[in-house]
């Protein structure tokens, strides 16, 4: 291994360790790590500034930014609250029905829109409905986070790791609908049934005031019906375009960004306010990680990795996929799944270079990164959000409470995903 390879790997690994330790903000670590990588590259001659720029996956960033703008426009209209209130009313205040309705609405929204925004806006309404009913909101909040994490795996735009994987492996929106959605649907239903069982005691407490829920008025939650309608039309068109983007030879990023452009033109919002709701720190963090991984690739770490992985290529690919599901899930349960996904991409490409059929491995990575986050209270941002919001209620979600529901869900979802993965393995494109 060359000095460049050693130093670039060291930069990346130390940055990862700092990100995982959560001592310093991950975006700050990312920027510093990327700067160090380019600095080393310039000094030792293995990585130039223009190479660094080339290694940023603008397809991922564009897709994220476009979707973030659409969400940012939809957020103040009250649409998310409308959906939650509507679900609450439709449940007629029956706890099990409420769990299914709220879980389904949260999942459906987070399959196409940002998971965290969805949870941030739906969780307070959930708490309100539960308090009106005089029941504890804990099971509903936990279920919303677990089900939306699970559902997000189904689509290309459902979860940031999917966007990264899709872009790195050249997987289209339709690929996700064909290879991920059916598996996720099965896993989602099993998760719901498992939650129903795990929370049977809380859900059996009869609500005190079911009439009050029937008096909820969803239309009054929708503050800006006109704008919501416009954004939903654009969003619908964007989803249709995602289906046919491949045939039109346009990228998902182009679809998302042009949809955002049209929506902005149509709505004419206060641009400053709209852009303030974009999570720039996430986008910068992604770019910084890409620059770091690009530096390692330029330094020849990938080639060294191929030699190491050549031995692994004798392992049956299906077994390797199972390893990836469980390994990545285990890591995602304790640390952020975005750096894990970005770090796994060169590894999988390395395996490909070593002669393994890597097509099916991308799906293993998506399942592991998506389902792993359910395991612990810190496993995903959605989990942290509901736990923080629940501190405002009489029954705050504790780590123990989470582990008793989330861990069985994680283990079950990963097991079911593993079985389905093995069963459909021959069908995955190579």
């Amino acid at each position: 291994m060359s000095l460049a390879a050693i130093l670039s790997s060291l930069t990346f690994l130390v940055s990862l360790a700092l990100i995982f330790s959560e001592k310093i903000n991950r975006t700050i670590v990312g920027i510093a790590g990327a700067a160090l990588m380019v600095g080393l590259g310039n000094f030792l001659g293995f990585y130039s500034e223009s190479q660094a720029l080339d290694s940023v996956d603008f397809n991922t960033l564009g897709l994220l930014l476009g979707m973030m703008i659409l969400v940012s426009l939809l957020e103040p209209t009250g649409f998310f609250q409308y959906m939650a209130v509507w679900a609450g009313k439709l449940s007629k205040g029956q706890p099990v029905r409420l769990l299914v309705m709220l879980g389904a609405v949260t999942t459906l929204l987070s399959m196409f829109l940002d998971n965290v925004t969805t949870i941030v806006l739906i969780a307070p309404v959930t708490i309100l409905i539960c308090e009106i009913l005089g029941i504890t909101s804990t099971p509903f909040l936990i279920a919303e986070a677990l089900l939306s994490n699970t559902g997000g795996v189904a689509t290309l735009v459902g979860d940031p790791p999917n966007i990264i994987i899709g872009s790195a492996a050249g997987l289209s929106f339709n690929d996700f609908l064909v290879y991920s959605l059916p598996i996720v649907l099965v896993v989602w239903v099993i998760t719901l049934l498992l939650l129903r069982f795990l929370m049977r005691h809380e859900l059996s407490i009869p609500p005190k005031n079911m009439d009050a829920v029937m008096k909820l008025s969803p239309s009054e939650a929708l503050d800006d019906k006109k704008t919501a309608k416009k954004i939903l039309i654009v969003l619908g068109a964007a989803i249709l375009l995602f289906f046919i983007a491949h045939f039109l030879h346009i990228s998902p990023a182009y679809v998302a960004l042009s949809s955002a452009g049209i929506a902005l033109l149509w709505v004419r919002p206060d641009v400053k306010e709209t852009l303030e709701r974009i999570e720039w720190s996430v986008l910068i963090f992604f770019a910084a990680l890409f620059v770091m991984v690009g530096g390692m690739e330029s330094a020849g770490v990938l080639e060294s990795l191929v030699h190491v992985l050549a031995g692994a290529s004798s392992i049956p690919p299906v077994l390797f996929g199972v390893f990836i599901i469980w390994g990545v899930a285990g890591l995602s349960a304790i640390v952020d799944n975005i750096p894990i996904t970005i770090a796994m991409i060169p590894v999988i490409h390395g395996l490909g270079a070593a002669g393994m059929e890597i097509g099916p491995l991308w799906w293993a990575l998506a399942f592991g990164a998506g389902f792993g986050g359910n395991g612990t209270i810190i496993g995903s941002t959605a989990n942290i959000v509901v736990a923080t919001l629940s501190e405002k209620t009489r029954t705050p979600i504790t780590t123990k409470m989470w582990t008793r529901r989330g861990l069985p869900v994680m283990l079950t979802t990963c097991s079911v995903a593993t079985i389905l993965y093995i069963l459909v393995f021959p069908l995955f494109p190579r």
Binding site: V85, P124, I127, L128, L133, A212, L216, S217, K392, T393
Partner: protein
């Protein structure tokens, strides 16, 4: 025109030994919105507001909501009640620091302070720092109007 003329001289207060339940009973009986808390020597050491008591049962998460126009019936939230244990806790557990105003302060100045600091009732002290009265926004506001009408 200063506040001395418009303040209520009969200040209703509670001793520091009171419980939250005792404070609630005084609020109900006297229909006031703020009670100064006095120590054994009769010196004011803090206040308790009607809103402090109500918020004990007003759920925190309501602050998370931007609005709740769509909720026409608060359901079970309407019947939330503190436990007997909560009511028997010392008033010290919810006591707030006392803000006072000097009796010679001008009406406009007090009103401005009340608006700025979102105060509705303010105990009044004399030069020795002793509690001599209490004013509300209504007392001060109507005091200001009185000066218009007499001129």
């Amino acid at each position: 025109m200063n506040i001395e003329k418009f303040m209520k001289r009969n200040v209703i207060s509670i001793p520091i030994t009171s419980t939250i339940g005792d404070a609630a009973a005084v609020f109900i009986k006297e229909r006031v919105s703020l009670l100064p808390i006095l120590d054994a020597q009769g010196k004011p050491v803090g206040v308790v507001r009607l809103s402090n008591l109500v918020s004990m049962e007003m759920p925190d998460f309501l602050k998370l909501m931007e609005d709740f126009d769509f909720v026409h019936d608060f359901g079970a939230i309407e019947s939330m009640q503190p436990t007997i244990e909560m009511l028997s806790r010392s008033v010290k557990t919810i006591m707030q620091p006392i803000d006072t105003i000097d009796k010679d302060c001008g009406l406009m100045r007090v009103y401005a302070i009340m608006l700025k600091d979102e105060i509705f009732d303010l105990p009044v002290t004399n030069d020795n720092g002793e509690l001599v009265g209490i004013v509300s926004r209504v007392d001060i506001g109507t005091g200001i109007l009185t000066t218009w009408c007499t001129e």
